[in-house]
Amino acid sequence: MSTETQHAGANVSLARRAWSIRRLALRMAEVQGQGYIGQALGVADVLAVSYFHALNYKPEDPEWEGRDRFYLSIGHYAIALYSAMIEAGILPEDELETYGMDDSRMPMSGMAAYTPGMEITGGSLGHGLGIAVGAALGLKRKKNPAFVYNLMSDGELGEGSTWEAVMSASAHQLDNLICVVDFNDQQADGPTTQALARGDEAPKWAAFGWHAQEVDGNDLDALVTAFDTARTLSDPRPRVIICKTQMCKGVPFLEEREITHFVRVDPSEWARAIAILDDAIPA
């Protein structure tokens, strides 16, 4: 079992997991000299709570029928998910340096056919939640109590297909579906809240019939509480956790940089970023 923080309030181990995910992502990005590091650093806490508190899985058997399904709708976040799966023992750490290279099992955008533990091919945004609806229906057909998690970006809130899926999950009362939105307010051309996601998101989802929570996505205690609520709720509604995250979280000189969809990092700065993490290893 991967639930590490039953002792409420401490979350020391989760902090260490999130730290490891950030460090692994930086190492992968350094290999390519690029990568969606801003997003990876921002979502690391969400993934730490997902993989080391909430999800039920067997690292040695990524297709175990009893596992909770974790769908990565945002394909370019693969660097973050590979890091989480390396930390979880699903992927071997010594393949980390193949990231994005020819014949790698870790391509730049996540694809199901390439990587153990990568459930779907994401990347065409607005797809994950709809597939998750089908999987949640399928699990109910099989009377399999597993959850389907769908990790999506705030930018995907602009896709019409997302809202088809939102209505569908509600209509089919998919209480085994947990949607996790990484709300970092940054899509390719600028802030998401200056594009289509202008409303108050949680009430919007609630109005569509979802149990909606909004949390600080870089607060491990808050995330644990929100995931626990989503998992244990006795309620037929599908669940959404809107995680307000900060791009580049954990590396102050990058946090201060002008934040864009594709954060610019100079070649010399990767080592500097890793050194900053190494100066503050959580207990």
């Binding site: 694809m111 065409s124 797809h127 597939i131 089908g134 999987a135 399928g138």
Partner: protein, 351 residues
């Protein structure tokens, strides 16, 4: 050859020109038939809802069969399945994208989903979801769509004249255009047994039944000679094989001997059989399809024969590269060259 005109190619009259009530040659009013079901049935045997009934038969044998619709179960014959197996039927609402995505999710969990809508909506609205959620992962989702090509008089919003062209470019996807009720029944079973994604065109309602009398049995991926002939080789798909058989009869009466090669699987194309038949010398080769001239059977066959170094006299009967008119189907089929009368006239100009 003249250059193609730039801009709209419609032959429609101005919308400001008043019209008289149309009447047939016998002086009767011409009314619109929305679906092909009853169009071609005069004097023929028909079978009711062959797809819906075949799916019920399948479901009785296999627990993994589920059906989805995007608010069109009555118009795809899926309602037959929905009535028989309500707990295995998913009404996804008027939302084709999530219907396709959800079918992918169900397939991921071990089910064999039949996702149904109109061909226009699957090919135009749900394309990205079919290619990425289903085809790229080679999931066994069966997309079965009514109103393919010119099988409704509603106009371009409902006429999927380019669905085959759209889908032929999609890797992993198998494409089937069945001819009649017998073939729809057999193909429904065959595509369920096939482990990959399939797009199948559908005729619904009372569907004519013609291939049974030739002892035909559908085989996925196989083109089959329905009958031989020494002057013309018809290579046809979908209900155009019915038309090819009728045109062959009409031409036979005038002394022209026409063979009919039926190609229900558009992709992968049975190039072996097509090349073998087309290479027999002395025959005019004519492809027939209920689809635009762009990107369908005719172009697929022509390109393959060129690559194989086989160069028969060749013609294609297909819909023009235009937005087609609304109206009554028999008129439209005549106007756009799909009727038996139009086919025989066309062939005679090429002999």
């Amino acid at each position: 050859m003249q250059d193609a005109p730039i801009g709209p190619t419609s032959r429609r009259k101005s919308k400001y020109t008043p019209r008289a009530v149309p009447v047939s040659e016998d002086g009767e009013r011409l009314t619109t038939s929305a679906m092909i079901a009853s169009l071609d049935a005069e004097g023929r045997d028909t079978v009711a809802a062959p797809f819906g009934n075949a799916l019920c038969d399948l479901a009785a044998q296999r627990d993994d069969i589920v059906g989805l619709t995007a608010d069109l179960s009555k118009y795809t014959d899926l309602h037959v399945f929905a009535n028989a197996y309500p707990d295995r039927f998913y009404q996804m609402g008027m939302a084709e994208q999530v219907m396709i995505s959800a079918a992918a999710g169900l397939a991921r969990e071990g089910f064999t989903p039949f996702a149904t809508t109109y061909a226009v909506f699957a090919s135009r609205r749900a394309y990205d979801f079919i290619i990425m959620a289903i085809a790229e992962e080679n999931l066994p989702v069966k997309i079965v769509c009514a109103l393919p090509g010119l099988t409704t008089g509603y106009g371009p919003s409902h006429q999927a004249t380019e669905d085959l062209a759209i889908f032929r470019g999609m890797p992993n996807l198998t494409i089937v255009d069945p001819c009649d009720a017998t073939e729809i029944t057999q193909a429904t079973h065959a595509i369920a047994d096939f482990p990959g994604p399939v797009y199948m065109r559908l005729l619904r309602g009372k569907v004519p039944d013609v291939l049974g009398q030739y002892g035909y049995r559908f085989q996925l991926g196989k083109a089959q000679v329905i009958h031989g002939g020494s002057d013309v080789l018809f290579i046809s798909t979908g209900f155009m094989t019915m038309r090819a058989l009728d045109a062959a009869k009409a031409l036979k009466a005038e002394g022209t001997d026409c063979a009919v090669l039926h190609v229900p699987t558009l992709k992968p194309l049975d190039t072996g059989t097509i090349r073998k038949e087309a290479a027999k010398t002395g025959r005019l080769v004519v492809t027939l399809e209920n689809h635009t001239i762009v990107g369908g059977l005719g172009e697929a066959v022509a390109a393959d024969l060129m690559r194989a170094g086989i160069h028969p006299a060749f013609d294609s009967i297909a819909l023009p590269d235009e937005f087609l008119d609304a109206g009554a189907l028999p008129t439209l089929h005549d106007q756009y060259g799909l009727s038996v009368r139009a086919i025989t006239a066309r062939v005679k100009t090429r002999l």
